[in-house]
């Protein structure tokens, strides 16, 4: 995990008693809170609370993938989402990663198919995920349906 952080982020530790103004500046309500902020000042990850190691690493990978998406680097973002979902299939982040992976195909190549097939793919593995529900509107409607 440390090597992933060092390679993909510029890590900053903010202790509440040492930097209370920074807590107020970013509207942090609770600890621990983890924010990934890109070079334009946009928040690409907001994680509050503790998590098992696998989920925590998946969230870090999500932050890095979201940052690539924000830079419009569709291939890199798609690769990062795929790797996340394949490395951490049981994590909360996995169905969300597949959702965004499909979005990179649309954004990069105007390829609708991954979004159109996303709901059925997620339904099998993650039937109760909110990301499965979010994928439902992309399923093409049958004529007359």
């Amino acid at each position: 995990m440390a090597s992933f952080i060092e390679k993909n982020f510029l890590p900053v530790r903010i202790q509440v008693k040492e930097q209370p103004a920074t807590f107020r500046r970013f509207g942090v309500l609770w600890t621990p809170t983890l924010l990934a902020m890109d070079g334009e000042g946009h928040e690409r990850l907001h994680w509050v609370g503790y998590a098992p190691a696998d989920d925590f690493l998946a969230q870090l990978e999500m932050g890095a993938a979201n940052a690539a998406f924000g830079r419009k680097q569709w291939e890199e973002a798609g690769r990062r989402y795929r790797e996340l979902a394949e490395r951490h299939p049981a994590s909360e982040a996995a169905p969300e990663a597949w959702y965004w992976e499909a979005a990179t195909h649309y954004m990069g190549k105007k390829d609708h198919l991954p979004l159109e097939t996303l709901a059925s793919r997620l339904e099998r593995r993650y039937p109760n995920s909110i990301w499965t529900k979010k994928a439902a509107p992309y399923v093409p409607q049958e004529p007359g349906g």
């Binding site: 440390a2 090597s3 952080i5 060092e6 993909n8 982020f9 510029l10 890590p11 900053v12 530790r13 903010i14 202790q15 509440v16 008693k17 040492e18 930097q19 920074t22 807590f23 500046r25 970013f26 942090v28 600890t31 621990p32 809170t33 983890l34 924010l35 990934a36 902020m37 890109d38 070079g39 334009e40 000042g41 690409r44 990850l45 870090l60 932050g63 890095a64 940052a67 830079r71």
Partner: protein, 32 residues
């Protein structure tokens, strides 16, 4: 491998622009 945490948010945000890497801000109540 241990993480070398910085403490200067603005320096990290500025470097994030140049490096195409996001700043990771870890807010904690735990003493250093």
């Amino acid at each position: 491998m241990t993480i070398e945490w910085g403490t200067d948010v603005d320096a990290a945000l500025s470097e994030a622009r140049a490096a195409s890497r996001p700043a990771l801000l870890y807010f904690t109540a735990a003493p250093a």
